[in-house]
Symmetry: C2
DNA sequence: AATTTCATGCAATGCAATTGCATTGTTTCA
DNA sequence: TGAAACAATGCAATTGCATTGCATGAAATT
């Protein structure tokens, strides 16, 4: 390991830890992506991620996110805009299943997508014979910043 | 008006009525699309609509659906598959707003998308400062046909 | 050191939504 | 009625994004 590598690892011990916990090999790229995600308050698209951490290859980021998703670090959000958004999972998420059954909020004004971790999705009464597996609830409106 | 045209109009009085109610000029194309939609039990994609009523131009169907949506005849459903689905609205829908705050159900087995008109979306508690406008709730699982 | 496995980067593909433009049909109005 | 204005249609082309193929490079394992 080079000196540069070592110092990088030291400065990103948190990210490394998190990667290792989820059995993801902490490469430079992955640490960078994870660190960037850690700075975000809202979900982010591949495009914005690419812009924010240039120079970095779009496809590599894409595959990194896919790996993160499979290992339970990140969940993919479909907010209805047509473009995928990504956000860090709670610690409780693992490779087998995501525990992100929370509400997502899309602000029609600033176009940001929030994870409302505290707003749980209530029970829905389904017609007879229908069996529940997963669900996706997106609320749209104006966020706190855009209303004040 | 030709005899053929007249008989067509007579046989599709229901569709014509519905179009006129929503201030949509009942052209041949629009009547055909609406009649096809009336036969559907589940939401349908542009692709399937095109296949089902060939020969008909894909783009024209697309724009017809867009018109229907704007006039409150049809609502567009984002079921998370990435392709848009369309379904007829309740009579209560108008041009200004859609009253389709019902749950949509996607069957992971038969890939059909249902409008669960009777399952209303419950109140969601949002964080302070967040204002509600619209919402989209998609439940996924297995439908009644695929479980029996 | 050699082999294998994994990560990365670039190019290319695929799919669906959407737009531009020319043509045709329909309404309006003098 | 006839011409102008407008709306609907059809075809071609474009866009935007997700996704895959393939070749190179790095890392781990023996």
């Amino acid at each position: 390991m080079s000196g540069h590598e070592k110092s990088r690892l030291l400065s990103s011990a948190v990210a490394d830890q998190r990667l290792l916990q989820h059995k993801v090999k902490p490469t430079a790229m992955r640490v960078l992506v994870l660190e960037y995600l850690l700075t975000q308050q809202t979900a982010i698209s591949l495009n914005d991620l690419e812009k924010g951490m240039q120079p970095a290859d779009r496809i590599t980021i894409y595959r990194t996110l896919k790996t993160f998703e499979q290992k339970g670090l990140v969940h993919l959000i479909d907010d209805g805009t047509g473009v995928h958004k990504y956000a860090l999972c709670d610690d409780a998420c693992g490779p087998a299943e995501h525990h992100d059954l929370h509400v997502h909020f899309y602000c029609n004004n600033c176009k940001e997508t929030y994870c409302l971790s505290d707003s749980k999705i209530p029970e829905i009464a389904l017609p007879d014979g229908f069996g529940f597996n997963e669900m996706n609830l997106v609320v749209k409106g104006h966020c706190d910043k855009c209303r004040s």
